[in-house]
Each structure stands twice: as structure tokens, then as C-alpha cells.
């Protein structure tokens, strides 16, 4: 049995016509001798009646003051894919072949039980294989599974979870290909919103696509790329709405022909730069230890960390920033008897002023706060490590009058923290200077 997994994202099943076109692809796969498995996302994007975000909003609007229980949120979020799978299996049957909607649990997907962001522990494809044996095409709900320890519960797999489902099912049934259908012609060298004429990459390695995905490319979730890499499953990203050949993702390194694979942007960040230049080394160490201990204890995710003789800087996701500010702004850090520091994020808040009024001996440690930041990244397996790369990109950004607050780099990528308002322009100018010469 030659099994092929076809995953359809929200826009690919958003309308009756789109579902008919997607079902036709499943039909065509059958005609070509494959035993296809469909994996579907919830119908449409934000605003569509059964889209995941719509369901979450319905739930939260009941009482915005009441904290959402993760288990209940997972139940409602999972409904989007269940509705989608049931409707899509009907679309398949209307083309004259047998299909059955299957929940994540029925598909044998077991998770670690973490509501809202579960990881797949195992996949038992017994039911899926039995359906295929009977010539019934399974239409699997993406983004969900059941905890190993509590199989009657539903957990969701986090953002991009339907890609993860498709890759996991592909690995479990030893599929000869997993095809991810979306609304663009494959993986491009930049987000088409920034660079409308960005070329499509025809062949990429798992490493390249994982790096792109981690740094913000939205066509494929990094967890899916990692599973595909781990189990060596041939992966394709294709356009639901065109006959384009798409992007093939393979295990061998195919990046030798290009310096730069792509430019991405990601994240809405707030950058904090603490001025510690006037502190003694001992005081600074005590302060830094308590600062990081607080961030660790309360689960604040830090990015682009920087320690220098002048101070310490890091970025925080905007979604988390309110929590971080509640935690850190006005925090009094005792250093020694009669010697306390108070953290101040940006201009002194009422909380900081009140603390200073009450504890007159406290010394403020001020962090310069830069709101509205984002990160653009340049990815290329062979580019970094060559002399002059940083200089070249920083010069391009400087000439385009894009301010750079911080940089970070890895073996295959380099990232720049910039004002969010400059995102598209920065991506475009870096892309125009680096990519045309490198894509083959």
C-alpha cells in the first residue's frame, strides 16, 4: 500500500469550492494508485464561524474576567477540526469515493497530556490502516490527540498543530509522502506580504525549513519539519489553488547552490536594556541573579539576551510583557543590609514612585524600554562564518534608515531586532540585496 498524507489548512477548506478542489486532490491521489489520508484544519481563518480563533473568542466572551480553563479551551478548540473533518469527508463522498471523519483520539494520537500545547508521545495507526484496507479515506482532525494517561480527554497540539498531526501520521503509517496544502506556491524566500515577487524554493533540506519555520516563516510548523526529519518522510508544501509543483523538502543538503535561503520576520517584542555600569561587580551579580531568578520562576521567555560591562538587555514577547512588567517594575532587590535596589522599566510608574516614597534608601536601576520591536532573520546554511556578513547586512539596514537594537546569530542564521513599523521595508531591502544573487 502506497500511502500519501494530504494536509489541508484553513484556507484550503474555507469554502465549498475550496473543499471541492481539495477533495479532488484526494481523488486524484487515489486515481494515481495511492491510499490517501487527509488531515484537515478548522474551516477558514479568524472571523470565519468555525475558525479556531472564533471559537476561542466565543468562549472568552462569556466572561472576560474569568480565567479560561485549559481543558475546556482545548475542548472548544478541537471542535473546529471535528466540524471541518465531518464536512470534508462529505465533500469526498460527493466525489464518489468512501471517506470517514476521524478524531485525533480515534486516529491513535497519544499526547503527553499538556492542555493547550501537548506533544505527541505515540501514534497507533491501527484504525487508520483498517480504514485504508477497506478503501475508505480517513479524514483526520488535525491539531488534537488524547493524553496517554487519560485517553478520554482531548488535548490540542498548539499553534500549527495540524502540520504536526500530518507529519506524525505520515511517520506512523510510513507514508511515501506528506503534502502540506496552503494558499501559496510552496516555501518562498520571504513572506509575499513583504516581497510580493519572492521566488519559491523548489528543494530544501529539513534543516533549512526547520530554521526558516523557527524564525517565523509561516508555511510549515517547525515541529512538523522536525518529525519529518526524524523519520525521513518526504515532505512537500504546495498551493491548494494552483498547479504549481511546490517545494520539496528532503534529507540531503541542497543548500550548496545558494548563500541565503530566505528572510523571515517574527515576534512582537519589547526590548529592555538595564543600565548597570555604575554598580560594583558584586552588587551587579546579586542583582542579575535575582532578576533572572524571577524571570525563571515566573516563566518569562527571554530573547536576544545581551550581557556587557554596561548592562544587561533582553527582549520579551509583547503577550508576556504585561506579566513581566507586573513582576519586575517596582521590584525591590535587597543587596545588603540597608542597601536595596528597585527596578524601573522605562519612566517611573506610580508603583515605582510609591515604593521610592516608602523606602527612601532604595536606589533605582533603570531599564530603557523599547516597545514595538520585531525580529527579522536571514537564513543560509553556507553564508554565515564568511567574513563581512554582519557588516553587509547592517550596512543595508543602515542605508535604508532602519534602526537595529540588537543582533543574534546561530550557525545558519542571523537575526536583527528592529522597529516593528519597519518590518516589511526591512525584509524587502535585505531580500532585494541578498536573495536574487543566491537563489538558483
Amino acid at each position: 500500500m502506497k500511502i500519501k498524507v494530504l494536509k489541508f489548512g484553513g484556507t484550503s477548506v474555507a469554502t465549498k469550492e475550496a473543499r471541492a478542489a481539495a477533495a479532488q486532490r484526494v481523488f486524484d491521489a487515489r486515481e494515481q494508485g495511492f491510499s490517501p489520508i487527509a488531515v484537515v484544519s478548522a474551516i477558514g481563518r479568524k472571523g470565519a464561524p468555525y475558525a479556531t480563533d472564533t471559537l476561542i473568542n466565543e468562549f472568552k466572551e462569556v466572561n472576560p474576567q474569568l480565567p479560561a480553563i485549559a481543558r475546556e479551551l482545548d475542548l472548544i478548540m478541537a471542535c473546529g477540526e471535528i466540524i471541518s473533518a465531518a464536512i470534508f469527508s462529505q465533500s469526498c463522498r460527493s466525489l464518489g469515493f468512501k471517506a470517514a471523519a476521524v478524531t485525533g483520539m480515534q486516529a491513535g494520537i497519544s499526547t503527553d497530556g499538556k492542555f493547550g500545547n501537548a506533544r505527541i508521545v505515540s501514534v497507533d495507526p491501527k484504525k487508520i490502516l483498517a480504514l485504508l484496507e477497506r478503501d475508505v479515506t480517513p479524514v483526520i482532525c488535525g491539531f488534537q490527540g488524547s493524553p496517554v494517561d487519560e485517553p478520554d480527554e482531548i488535548t490540542t497540539l498548539g499553534r500549527g498543530g495540524t502540520d504536526t498531526t500530518a507529519a506524525a501520521i505520515g511517520a506512523a503509517v510510513k507514508a511515501c509522502a506528506v503534502e502540506i496544502y496552503t494558499d501559496v506556491d510552496g516555501i518562498k524566500t520571504a513572506d509575499p506580504d513583504s516581497v510580493p515577487n519572492a521566488p519559491t524554493l523548489r528543494r530544501m533540506s529539513y534543516d533549512e525549513v526547520a530554521e526558516l519555520a523557527h524564525l517565523g516563516a509561516k508555511v510549515l510548523h517547525p515541529r512538523a519539519a522536525e518529525i519529518a526529519m526524524r523519520y525521513s518522510i518526504p515532505l512537500w508544501v504546495k498551493n491548494s489553488f494552483s498547479g504549481d509543483e511546490g517545494t520539496e523538502i528532503v534529507s540531503e543538503d541542497v543548500s550548496y547552490s545558494r548563500n541565503v535561503t530566505g528572510i523571515t520576520h517574527s515576534g512582537k517584542l519589547v526590548y529592555l536594556q538595564f543600565d548597570l555600569a555604575k554598580l560594583s561587580q558584586m552588587d551587579r551579580a546579586k542583582l542579575e541573579r535575582q532578576l533572572f531568578a524571577m524571570c525563571a520562576r515566573f516563566g518569562i521567555a527571554l530573547h536576544m539576551l545581551n550581557l556587557s560591562p554596561e548592562g544587561v538587555g533582553f527582549a520579551i514577547n509583547r503577550e508576556q510583557y504585561a506579566n513581566a512588567e507586573r513582576l519586575l517594575d517596582g521590584l525591590v532587590i535587597p543587596i545588603a543590609s540597608g542597601k536595596d535596589f528597585i527596578l524601573q522599566l522605562g519612566t517611573a510608574s506610580q508603583k515605582v514612585q510609591a515604593q521610592q516614597e516608602m523606602l527612601r534608601h532604595v536606589q533605582p536601576v533603570v531599564a530603557e524600554k523599547t516597545e514595538g520591536c520585531t525580529m527579522i532573520s536571514v537564513i543560509g546554511r553556507t553564508y554565515f562564518g564568511k567574513p563581512g556578513v554582519f557588516y553587509r547586512i547592517l550596512r543595508i539596514l543602515h542605508e535604508a534608515k532602519v534602526q537595529v537594537f540588537q543582533t543574534a546569530d546561530s550557525d545558519f542564521s542571523v537575526s536583527f531586532l528592529i522597529p516593528e513599523t519597519e518590518t516589511y521595508r526591512a525584509v524587502r531591502v535585505v531580500h532585494d540585496n541578498l536573495v536574487p544573487e543566491s537563489v538558483s
Binding site: D112, P309, F390, T407
Partner: protein, 158 residues
């Protein structure tokens, strides 16, 4: 297996701690006026001389970067010739803490830095990417520090 890790998906959390030896940190203090232009001037000199570097960071009044120890003499000559003042920390090693999806793991980077500070080691240079965090420390303390991290962050002694 740590909580949250699975056998099916790639493991999350800290997967590996590696020590790489033979680095030097170059730190440039350039002042606050026309800082961007001054940074570019320094990087241009280095680029035109064909010296590669990694882990560039923008500091409040300059920049810092890491080079291979083998490039120190060349870098010193180059910068002296160009009249650029700099501080050089030789004999450094790099501790790489690898963790897939590090940026999405709440509190992980903070806990690694806290562990470093608690160990009393002086960290000259630190940075992070989505899959790793690195710390540059004196070569002679790198292996011991990495062993402490390994035990603290992965529960493994070696």
C-alpha cells in the same frame, strides 16, 4: 526523560551541553555619538581584512564579537593599524546549551543565566538563538562550569 519530552517528537528542554575551546572576545567601546556609523566602520575594517567572526552583539556604547583564537594576532594587527581601540579577552571557551524551541520554553534562558551567575563564573559574552544559548567564559573554568550546568539542567553528571 524529562517532563514534557516525548519519544515521538524531538526532545524538548536542554538536550546537550557542549564546550568549544579556542576563542577570544573582542570588545569595542566607541562612545555614544554616531554610534551606528562607528560600529559600521569597525565591522568594515574587519570585513575588508577577510577576518570572520561570530556572535556579534551591540552594546550600549559599542559592540562585542567572538573570534577564533587563531585569528587574534591578525585581528590585533589589523585594529592597531586602523587606530581602533579595543579590549581583547583571550583564552576563552564557549559553553553551548542546546535546546530545540528554546525561545518558546518559558523561563529556560533565565534559569540558565541564573545558574551561571550562581556558579560564580564570570560570563564575558552571552547570547541565544531559537535552538541554543551560548556563554563565553575563561577557558580554564569552562569544563567545570559545563559539568555543573549539565547536572543542573539535564540531571546528567557527564
Amino acid at each position: 526523560m524529562q517532563a514534557g519530552q516525548t519519544q515521538f517528537e524531538a526532545p524538548r528542554g536542554v538536550s546537550e551541553i557542549e564546550v568549544r575551546h579556542g576563542f577570544a572576545q573582542v570588545h569595542f567601546v566607541l562612545g555614544s555619538r554616531e554610534l551606528t556609523i562607528k560600529r559600521l566602520e569597525v565591522l568594515k575594517v574587519i570585513a575588508e581584512a577577510g577576518v570572520s567572526h561570530k556572535y556579534l552583539q551591540l552594546t550600549q556604547n559599542g559592540l562585542a564579537l567572538i573570534i577564533a583564537e587563531a585569528q587574534v594576532a591578525e585581528m590585533e594587527e589589523l585594529l592597531n593599524k586602523a587606530g581602533i581601540t579595543f579590549e581583547l579577552n583571550k583564552g576563552r571557551s564557549m559553553i553551548l546549551v542546546k535546546s530545540i524551541g528554546l525561545w518558546e520554553e518559558p523561563g529556560t534562558i533565565a534559569s540558565i543565566v541564573e545558574a551561571a551567575i550562581a556558579s560564580g563564573v564570570q560570563v564575558d559574552h552571552v547570547g541565544d538563538m531559537h535552538d541554543r544559548m551560548y556563554m563565553v567564559v575563561k577557558g580554564e573554568v569552562a569544563e567545570d562550569t559545563a559539568a555543573k550546568f549539565r547536572e543542573h539542567l539535564t540531571g546528567r553528571k557527564n
